[in-house]
């Protein structure tokens, strides 16, 4: 019954996809005549409003969940008070009434249990460790107690060490990269903060982007990938030595790349291609080594099927190696050739590397932290191939109305709209997996991260597709709206899903859990910060675009942006603080066993 239901569903979905694919040309070509007068009613803009509303509503729902559990505890207190009132009534009873009650009570007290009424005389013992916490103070905490990680995976110590070191490096780069981001964001408000060459905006901006790309997200992905690859192949990693070599290569390239950027040596200013080729070569070698290590591990798997996560992860590596090679070969990059490659490279850097890899991780960590299988394997495969087909073609949508050939721009816009297919397929798969487990959200510190990441996957990607339309591009291109979009995706999708995966796996392999309050602080500061960042840049960007269309002189649009830049700096500060919190949580999850021994000792004395 359930199976047939599933089949029905996936057939319905494929109908939906076909219909959507047929509608695409209409959607896209209807955008050609820019008319800024009724910009509010343009489909792209309405769509974006709608998408942001989704996130807002979900945030409100999560907050309401929290609030309702709090109200529950308040109600319990009220009940207590009623009991007190009842007791006082008792005191006011007359003597004869009391005598009668006492007599009944005496008789009741004489009754004695034989001790075997419930069928057993055995002592109650929690032999299977089902009781996780005994509390003598069941008072009212503000939110639900988070469930502890129920099991600890037996992980080979070598693998554990690799994962912790990859994640440790990623945490370092996250804190460093976002500190730089925070600093350059403040320069919009105080441009004369410093007059030091290597701290100037033009040099630090690529340091921020490249560090969070190649340092934070890439290192975290590869580290988390090692666990997935080994676990789903039911085997050990092919070579730990290779994993360490790649670790050194990747970190070295980010370190050297940033150094060169700060002394003013960059590859030519193309976004995410700012490291000069010798440094990118080191990074690419790290990727090649990682690919072979993963590939060999999958090849040695002890089960016949290749789990869907490994499709995404292996493909992300092979595609990114191709991408970097094409991005750095010079023979076709003079004149506007460079611009075509730039569009291709910067978009695929996000789409084929971060998005593909992180989706692969989510296909493992999301179902495993819900302790159930993924909703549909086939939807995952559909999303995989459409991801490759559509994502590859859309790079030039960064150059709409530019001197690039019109056909190239149109292909990019049409396929951008086609991105609805993998995005809807992926989102459906994740949400259907979560379906039936919604009540776990308030009981888990991992699931809120997953939920936000998945919702942003839908919202951020769809918003990106809408932004590629000619009209929306007309208003938003070149404005800070682009900055909002990139943070919505790289932060809202990638970072949140990576945090979810890290909180899901680290306690299971180290046996140490972070304080739930601190994970909550990380979550809410990151989420509220991102929201402030996003909304201010979107609102400001839209007004700026309209100001340009009006033909106002340029400096007016700079003055107009100033309050929005202040709000962005505030949102950015919250995001940065949340990363410090995350770094502390990471430390708690991975600190040396010495501390753990200490803790068990204390526990022993308590139970003794």
């Amino acid at each position: 019954m359930f199976l047939s239901c599933l089949k029905m569903n996936s057939r319905k979905f494929s109908y939906l996809f076909v219909m959507m694919a047929m509608l695409l040309p209409n959607l896209v070509f209807a955008q050609s005549a820019p008319n800024p007068e009724n910009w509010l009613t343009s489909p792209g803009i309405i769509g974006t409003f709608f998408l942001i509303a989704i996130v807002l509503i979900i945030a409100i729902v999560i907050a309401l969940f929290r609030a309702s559990s709090y109200i529950g505890t308040v109600k319990a207190k009220k009940l207590n008070a009623e009991k007190m009132a009842f007791n006082e009534d008792l005191i006011g009873l007359s003597e004869s009434e009391i005598d009668e009650i006492l007599l009944k009570r005496k008789q009741a007290l004489k009754f004695k249990l034989a001790g075997e009424e419930l069928g057993s005389a055995e002592q109650a013992l929690d032999e299977k460790g089902l009781v996780s916490k005994v509390s003598h103070d069941p008072g009212a905490p503000l939110v639900d107690e988070k469930r502890k990680s129920p099991l600890i995976f037996e992980t080979p110590p070598d693998l554990k060490k690799i994962i912790i070191f990859y994640l440790g490096a990623s945490v370092f780069w996250l804190v460093f990269g976002t500190l730089v981001g925070q600093y350059v964001g403040m320069k919009f408000v105080w441009p004369d903060m410093d007059h030091v060459a290597w701290l100037s905006f033009g040099r630090l901006r690529p340091v921020h982007t490249n560090t969070v790309f190649w340092g934070w997200a890439s290192m975290a992905m590869i580290g988390l990938g090692y666990f997935v690859i080994a676990r789903t192949s039911n085997t050990t990693i092919h070579s730990y030595k290779w994993a360490w070599t790649a670790w050194w290569f990747l970190n070295l390239s980010v370190l050297m790349g940033n150094y060169f950027l700060m002394i003013g040596i960059n590859n030519g200013g193309g976004e995410y291609r700012e490291y000069i080729w010798p440094i990118t070569l080191i990074f690419a070698l790290g990727l090649v080594i990682t690919f072979f290590n993963y590939y060999k591990t999958v090849a040695n798997r002890k089960i016949s099927e290749i789990y869907i996560s490994n499709w995404y992860i292996l493909a992300a590596l092979i595609w990114t190696i191709v991408l970097v090679t094409i991005g750095y070969i010079p023979t076709y990059q003079d004149g506007l050739g460079e611009t075509v490659i730039q569009g291709y490279y910067m978009h695929q850097g996000v789409g084929m590397w971060f998005m593909t890899f992180t989706l692969g991780l989510t296909y493992y960590y999301l179902p495993s932290s819900l302790n159930k299988p993924i909703y549909s394997y086939s939807l995952g495969v559909l999303a995989f191939w459409t991801q490759m087909l559509f994502y590859t073609m859309i790079g030039s949508h960064h150059f709409v109305f530019s001197p690039l050939p019109w056909w190239l721009q149109t292909v990019a816009i049409v396929f951008s709209a086609g991105m609805f297919i993998p995005v809807v397929a992926g989102t459906t798969n994740f949400l259907m997996t979560m379906k039936g487990s919604w009540n776990h959200i308030s009981k888990s510190y991992v699931l809120p991260f997953f939920l936000v990441g998945v919702v942003f996957y839908f919202v951020g990607s769809t918003q990106g597709s809408l932004q590629a339309f000619r009209f929306t591009n007309y208003v938003w291109h070149f404005t800070d709206f682009n900055v909002a979009h990139s943070h919505m995706t790289m932060y809202g999708i990638i970072s949140f899903l990576l945090w979810a995966s890290i909180y899901a796996i680290l306690p299971k392999i180290t046996g140490k859990e972070p304080k739930q309050l601190f994970v909550g602080v990380h979550f809410w500061m990151a989420f509220i910060g991102l929201f402030a960042y996003m909304i201010s840049m979107m609102a400001g960007g839209t007004l700026r675009g309209l100001s340009w269309i009006e033909g106002n002189y340029f400096i007016q649009s700079v003055v107009l942006m100033k309050p929005y830049w202040v709000w962005r700096a505030i949102g950015g500060s919250l995001m940065f603080l949340s990363h410090l919190m995350f770094a502390y949580n990471f430390y708690v999850m991975t600190r040396r066993p010495l501390v753990l021994a200490d803790q068990t000792k204390k526990l022993d004395t308590i139970t003794a």
């Binding site: 820019p34 008319n35 007068e37 441009p191 007059h195 100037s200 905006f201 033009g202 040099r203 040596i265 960059n266 590859n267 030519g268 200013g269 193309g270 291609r273 080729w277 010798p278 590939y295 090849a299 016949s304 099927e305 290749i306 499709w311 292996l314 493909a315 092979i318 191709v322 750095y328 010079p330 076709y332 990059q333 004149g335 506007l336 050739g337 460079e338 611009t339 075509v340 291709y344 087909l389 590859t392 790079g395 030039s396 960064h398 109305f401 530019s402 001197p403 690039l404 050939p405 007309y474 291109h477 070149f478 404005t479 800070d480 269309i549 033909g551 002189y553 340029f554 700079v558 003055v559």
Partner: protein, 332 residues
């Protein structure tokens, strides 16, 4: 057939091959085609100094905030007289050296103005130097970074040194003079070289008009002129400032100026057309004869003659046309 669920070799090989094919079609092939353009007939090659300037432009990451592309939509008209075409980038987008590739000049953000035509729009060297030393010295609201490391301080500048008339507010000490280094001069040379080359007359490259309804101009001669204040804010404000006060030591004030307030507009129009270099205490002004039409000059002049306390009679387009033909004939 391929048994992708169980055959890792096929899975990786197929995703590799298909991705490479798609990439060749969407990126490598169009990139090759776009290399095969030639420069426009009147497009100058970059000089050594301009090329050095381009290198500094890339090193300092200027492309993060400044685009160099005039899109083919009406709102981009303010950045150039025609949409950009692939030939425009023939000389500037070449591989920089062994280590660095062809620069990404088109850009993706306009935090600051587009620079496609900045050499035409802002032709004064002194202005650029001041602006680079500290942008706030010429544009109050600017948020562009300052580049003091392209300058050096000297107490007694030599004859060859280019002294930048930095207002006292932006100086640490009164005694040192700010000298532009070679790097600053190269960068300014590069910025000055940014001019759209004229198109051969046969080609047709036009802006896509906005479908926004144009405001119908009210009757009467006055409203037939373009908006003088807006033109002033686009063309003149960088030096003479929004309040018409100029900058002490760099650009003369227009408010209360004898030339601007003169009943006879001849001198004023001549300066706008041909530029001015008669007063040592101020920077050189370049002429705008090629950039502004008679209507635009009349509108700007009228704005200047009636703002900031100035009170001179307005002039007509015919007067400007007359002065232009007379002045040009003198200069021949």
């Amino acid at each position: 057939m391929f048994n992708l669920h169980k055959n890792h070799r096929n899975l990786v090989a197929i995703s590799f091959v298909v991705f490479v094919l798609l990439s060749l079609f969407i990126a490598v092939m169009p990139a090759y085609q776009l290399q095969e353009v030639s420069p426009l007939p009147d497009q100058p090659e970059l000089t050594t100094s301009e090329l050095n300037g381009l290198h500094i432009f890339i090193s300092e990451g200027c492309v993060a905030c400044h685009t160099q592309q005039v899109r083919n939509i009406e709102m981009d008209k303010m950045w150039g007289s025609r949409p950009s075409i692939p030939s425009d980038y023939y000389y500037s987008k070449q591989r920089l050296d062994v280590w660095r590739q062809s620069p990404s000049l088109l850009g993706s953000e306009r935090t600051g103005p587009d620079l496609t035509n900045v050499g035409v729009r802002q032709p004064a060297d002194q202005w650029h130097l001041l602006h680079l030393y500290n942008p706030r010295s010429v544009v109050d609201e600017s948020i562009m970074p300052a580049y003091p490391w392209l300058f050096e301080g000297k107490e007694n500048p030599g004859q060859k040194d280019v002294v930048v008339p930095v207002p006292a507010k932006f100086l640490k000490s009164d005694k040192t003079k700010i000298i532009a280094t070679k790097e600053a001069m190269d960068l300014v040379a590069y910025l000055q070289s940014l001019k759209q080359a004229p198109m051969p007359s046969t080609s047709t490259s036009e802006f896509i008009p906005s479908t926004k309804k144009k405001e119908v101009a009210a009757l009467g001669e006055k409203s037939m002129l373009p908006d003088g204040e807006q033109l002033y804010m686009q063309t003149c404000v960088a030096c003479h400032q929004a309040n018409g006060q100029g900058l002490v030591g760099a650009f003369p004030p227009l408010a209360g100026s004898k030339i601007v307030n003169d009943e006879n507009p001849e001198m004023m129009i001549q300066i706008i057309l041909m530029g001015y270099d008669a007063r040592e205490e101020y920077a050189v002004m370049v002429g705008f004869a090629d950039q502004l039409t008679d209507e635009e000059i009349a509108a700007i002049a009228n704005h200047e003659r009636t703002s900031w306390g100035n009170n001179a009679p307005k002039i007509t387009v015919e007067e400007v046309t007359k002065i232009r033909s007379y002045t040009l004939s003198l200069n021949k």
